[in-house]
């Protein structure tokens, strides 16, 4: 038999390797592996900023379910991004209590300032605008989620300040990892 060079197995993204400890912790938390799915997807998204096809396949392996089941979950929950996002994700609350207090205007202002609409990312990869439903801070409308922080009682000046802080890198980016490319 001719000697054949053994190919290296295709490298996975290594979710399991990089997050071994976190996954082990999750395993202690839940009696079924399937319950790990949402938290594992968050581990992926916090690193990559979005859920790619490759990572979905890895999540399926970790949670012992089919890729279709992972896809079902990823596409159901609105906070899982299925395309890469900017370093700063601006989640504008557009629901009635905020809308009564200028949420629409806030969106128009950001749209004009950044030149992007819903679910779009600026060319420099810094900002993405997403629509969030009620953020539970209705008494302080209008409200926007900037990555993990809830920014309340927004005004033009306040928004300008937040954008400036982001541009200067003073705020924590949306994702920590390396894989945020299409």
């Amino acid at each position: 038999m001719p000697q054949i060079q053994i190919q290296e197995p295709v490298k996975t993204n290594g979710v399991r390797e990089r997050h071994g400890a976190a996954i082990a912790e999750l395993e202690r938390k839940y009696p079924t592996r399937r319950s790990l799915l949402l938290p594992v997807l968050w581990l992926i998204q916090e690193e990559d900023g979005w859920i790619s096809a490759e990572t979905m396949e890895e999540a399926a392996e970790i949670c012992e379910c089919t890729t279709a089941e992972v896809m079902e979950v990823v596409s159901f929950y609105q906070m899982y991004n299925r395309a890469p996002v900017g370093k700063y994700v601006l989640g504008i609350c557009g629901t009635l209590p905020c809308a009564l207090c200028a949420a629409d205007g806030l969106y128009e202002y950001l749209k004009e300032k950044l030149g992007i609409g819903w679910n779009e990312t600026t060319a420099d990869g810094l900002f993405t605008i997403q629509r969030r439903e009620c953020l539970g801070a209705c008494s302080e409308a209008p409200v926007m989620l900037v990555n993990q922080e809830t920014e309340t009682r927004l005004t033009r000046a306040k928004v300008d300040g937040i954008l400036e802080e982001c541009r200067q890198g003073k705020r924590k980016p949306y994702f920590t990892g390396r894989n945020n490319k299409q």
């Binding site: 053994i6 096809a53 929950y77």
Partner: protein, 839 residues
């Protein structure tokens, strides 16, 4: 045979429906109970064999005393229940739901393949509005490529999730899913890949609307133009309906009850069939068909001839054969009637002719063991479904690969908790693995020893103290139950069945006691029929050849004197003798299994060494080209007769169309040869041959062949709206169950060095017939070899390499290694409708 205890059916209680009392079985699903008595409730998402989803909301009914309507599919029959199904509220619920389901439907009935079978069409007429109140644009989805055999049109989907539940619950894995959110939900597969399971075609039938349709059937015909023939195939267990027009096969579905396609498949049947039965039968339309008789014209050429001269030539050759010089090989896909007639030809009309069917086995010992196993089979899958077997043990059964339709029924029972499934095998797949506990993995040659150990332990007693050291969970699993089933696979090692396994398994059944039954499974379609109809060397239709009484009664049936044979060689030995030139005539009746036989050289020698080779077949092959007389046979919807399922259920094969060209039904060919061999004409119909068989089996003679058909008119309830299910289908069983005391088995021979080949469905490509079904070809997994990565590394093999295999008596052509990483999902994964932005 002692009858087994079966859990009794539930008692009836009184339910008041629209003010009238009704007797319904307690604890039963209310919707199903009402459907069963002919009280129709419209429904989409409910399906009798799937879990209750309750999402279509069409079966809302009114519970007296409650303001809100409730869905009937999530209620159970309880005493004193008072419901209304005819109130204004119920009517408005149905109207409302129908309107909701249609506001986004494209209303493209003229080009929809579901037309005439669509539940949306039907309910629109019966429960709809009559007018449209919507002027808004309709939701639209991209249309992906999806499955090679299933077409998807998401705009027509009503999100009943039957297909999703079918894949998840019945067919094996959750390969289909609901993606997206809310109003933009859609169904599909991950990355729009194929619906990868061997039963995927059923999603076409259970889809109540035009979302999932059959690609091969697409735009070919309207269902009401087609003739439906309830029949069975020559390849798969269970019944089917063939939908034809002018002899051409358009589609194969589970058996339907109605003769004309005015109702949906989905309402007509609750049975599922494998893709092999559905798509693998499209060979029927292949142009390559043998349509006229042919005889050898010297120098390897063949010429067409008339039936008269072909049959006379065949009869002459058989008449001229000397004592023991005629050998009949009966293909495992022959009907019971053909087996019977072949036996009569061989034994009654030729002088001590030989007959056997066991060509798929490569050694004489394996063939004999298989015969023993089939003769002892008495397990009943209907009893399994009714919960008679507390435990089931499957031994070395690559069931999904060999008999998918049977695999489905066993898994269904395990999933429904009707039996507790255990596995003892060399390889376990997900299909059963998910539902089985305990699961034991053994090297294939050690399986017989393991079974023997288990039997020996049980012979000592059922107390846990007797359990073998390493098999206590399995021992307890079996010992706890008074009634159970042992399933033994005869094909899991290809043709190289370990002969020691059969006596070991039979010993285990014996040790477990009278409540335990046995089922041998094989891919040989009509193996049970071959044994029962006397196409096995050591069997007559009425009993073993060694039994003088059986000889006498069979001789009476044959109308010819019989003598007890000195020896009873099985097919492997017969082939060896043929190759040695010991026969003058070799009669090959539908021998599909020889076309791809691993011992091809042996067969070539046999054909060359025999003076006259007579072949009955439907397609040309290297065998028919070597034959001296070729007699063209018929398809499964052109032929009359019966087949026997692996659990003994008789299935009717019926003639809906006449055979193509000059081809003939096989029973006519065989009977004509018999007549030409100077026997009196005995049979003018398949029914008459079946009558002989019934006499042979001591079955009630009042029973007619047509009783096997699905829809004897007297059984049809007087309503258009009834979903008839498996339970109401007449079921006749053929069980021989001769199980004598078996000698303890010897230890299996040790395997040679190196790797062992575990046979499974992926090891071989489609056969003689399957490869002529172009649709099925697209779906059949490429033959491939699966290797442990460590072994692969040791052999210097990588994914995608090609290897040649030779092992034991199994010899395989080139086989491709499976690629571990499939193609990645395409961009379509993200191409759903753009999310609308807020106003």
């Amino acid at each position: 045979m002692t009858p087994l205890n079966v859990p009794p059916p539930p008692d009836n209680v009184t339910v008041t429906v629209n003010g009238a009392p009704m007797q319904l079985p307690k604890g039963k699903n209310l919707l199903q109970a009402l459907l069963d008595v002919g009280h129709y409730i419209p429904h989409y998402c409910y399906h009798p064999r799937l879990s209750v989803a309750g999402n279509c909301r069409l079966c809302l009914i009114e519970l007296e005393g409650r303001p809100k309507p409730e869905i009937a599919c999530n209620m159970v029959v309880a005493d004193g229940l008072k419901i209304r199904t005819d109130s204004e509220l119920v009517d408005s619920c149905r109207k409302g739901m129908m309107e909701f389901l249609l506001i986004n439907h494209p209303l493209d009935c003229p080009i929809c393949d579901r037309g005439g079978e669509c539940m949306l069409q039907r309910y629109s007429v019966e429960y709809g509005w009559g007018t449209a109140r919507t002027i808004d644009p309709r939701r639209r989805f991209h249309k992906p490529q999806f499955d090679p055999l299933i077409d998807i049109e998401r705009n027509r989907c009503i999100m009943c999730t039957r297909c999703v539940r079918f894949c998840d619950e019945i067919a094996g894995e959750h390969v289909m899913g609901v993606f997206g959110h809310g109003n933009r939900n859609y169904i599909g597969t991950y990355g729009n890949g194929p619906v990868s399971n061997p039963f995927s075609g059923n999603v076409i039938d259970i889809c109540p609307v035009g979302c999932l349709t059959s690609k091969p059937f697409r735009f070919k015909a309207r269902v009401w133009e087609l003739r439906q023939t309830n029949t069975t195939t020559r390849t798969c267990n269970g019944a089917v309906t063939a939908w034809t027009r002018a002899g051409k096969l358009y589609r194969v579905t589970p058996p339907t009850r109605r003769r004309h396609g005015a109702y949906t498949i989905d309402e007509d049947t609750d049975e599922f069939i494998s893709n092999e039965a559905r798509f693998g039968t499209h060979y029927a339309n292949h142009d390559d068909r043998l349509t006229t008789p042919m005889i050898a014209a010297g120098d390897g050429a063949q010429m067409t001839t008339s039936w008269k001269s072909a049959l006379e030539a065949a009869a002459r050759a058989l008449r001229n054969a000397g004592r023991g010089e005629a050998c009949f090989l009966a293909g495992e896909r022959s009907t019971n009637e053909e087996f019977y007639l072949l036996g009569r030809l061989a034994r009654g009309l030729c002088r001590a002719g030989h007959i056997d069917w066991r060509m798929r086995f490569t050694s004489e010992a394996a063939a004999r063991a298989a015969g023993d196993a089939l003769r002892a089979s008495d397990g009943d899958l209907d009893l399994l479904a009714r919960g008679a077997y507390g435990a089931t043990l499957m031994i070395h059964a690559d069931l999904l690969g060999t008999a998918p339709d049977i695999a489905l029924r066993i898994k269904e029972a395990a999933r429904a908790g009707k039996t507790r499934l255990a596995l003892l095998d060399a390889r376990v797949d997900e299909f059963f693995g998910r539902f089985a506990d305990p699961v034991y993995l053994e090297q294939p040659e050690a399986l017989a020893t393991a079974v023997n150990n288990l039997a020996a332990a049980l012979e000592h007693g059922r107390d846990e103290a007797h359990a073998p050291a390493d098999g206590a969970p399995l021992f307890n699993h079996l010992a706890q139950h008074e009634q159970g089933l042992i399933v033994l696979g005869l094909d899991a090692a290809g043709g190289a069945l370990n002969p020691a396994l059969v006596p070991a398994a039979l010993r285990l059944v014996q040790a477990l006691g009278a409540g335990w039954q046995f089922l041998a499974v094989t891919a040989a379609r009509n193996a049970r029929g071959a044994v029962a109809a006397g196409a096995q060397s050591d069997r007559l239709p009425t009993g073993p050849v060694t039994d003088p009484e059986a000889l006498r009664s069979t001789s009476e049936l044959y109308g010819a004197p019989l003598e007890a044979p000195e020896e009873t060689p099985a097919a492997p030995e017969l082939l060896r003798r043929a190759a040695a030139g010991q026969f003058k005539v070799l009669f090959l009746h539908r021998c599909d299994e020889l076309v791809h036989h691993p011992q091809r050289e042996l067969i070539e020698q046999a054909l060359a060494a025999t003076e006259t080779v007579i072949a009955v077949d439907i397609f040309p092959s290297w065998i028919t080209r070597h034959a001296d007389i070729v007699l063209p046979g018929s398809l499964f919807y052109e032929n009359d007769g019966t087949m026997t399922d692996i659990d003994g259920t008789l299935q009717r094969m019926s003639r809906g169309d006449r055979p193509r060209g000059d081809a003939q039904e096989e029973w006519r060919i065989l009977e004509s040869i018999a007549v030409l061999m100077s026997a009196a004409r005995r049979h003018k119909s398949a029914q008459s041959i079946f009558g002989d068989l019934l006499k042979a089996w001591n079955a009630p003679t009042l029973f007619r062949l047509d009783d096997l058909l699905l829809d004897p008119p007297s059984l049809l309830p007087q309503t258009n709206h009834v979903l008839l299910s498996r339970r109401t289908r007449p079921n006749f069983k053929l069980i021989l169950a001769e199980r004598g005391a078996q000698p303890p088995a010897q230890a299996a021979p040790a395997a040679g060095g190196g790797l062992r080949l575990l046979w499974n469905m992926h090891s071989q490509g489609p056969d003689h017939l399957g490869s002529r079904s172009s649709e099925f070809d697209a779906l059949h997994p490429q033959p491939r070899l699966e290797l442990n990565p460590a072994d692969a590394a040791a052999l210097g093999l990588a994914d995608g390499d090609w290897v040649r295999l030779a092992g034991g008596e199994v010899y395989l052509p080139v086989i491709q290694l499976e690629r571990a990483i499939g193609p990645l999902p395409d961009e379509a994964l993200y191409q759903e409708e753009a999310v609308e932005t807020p106003a």
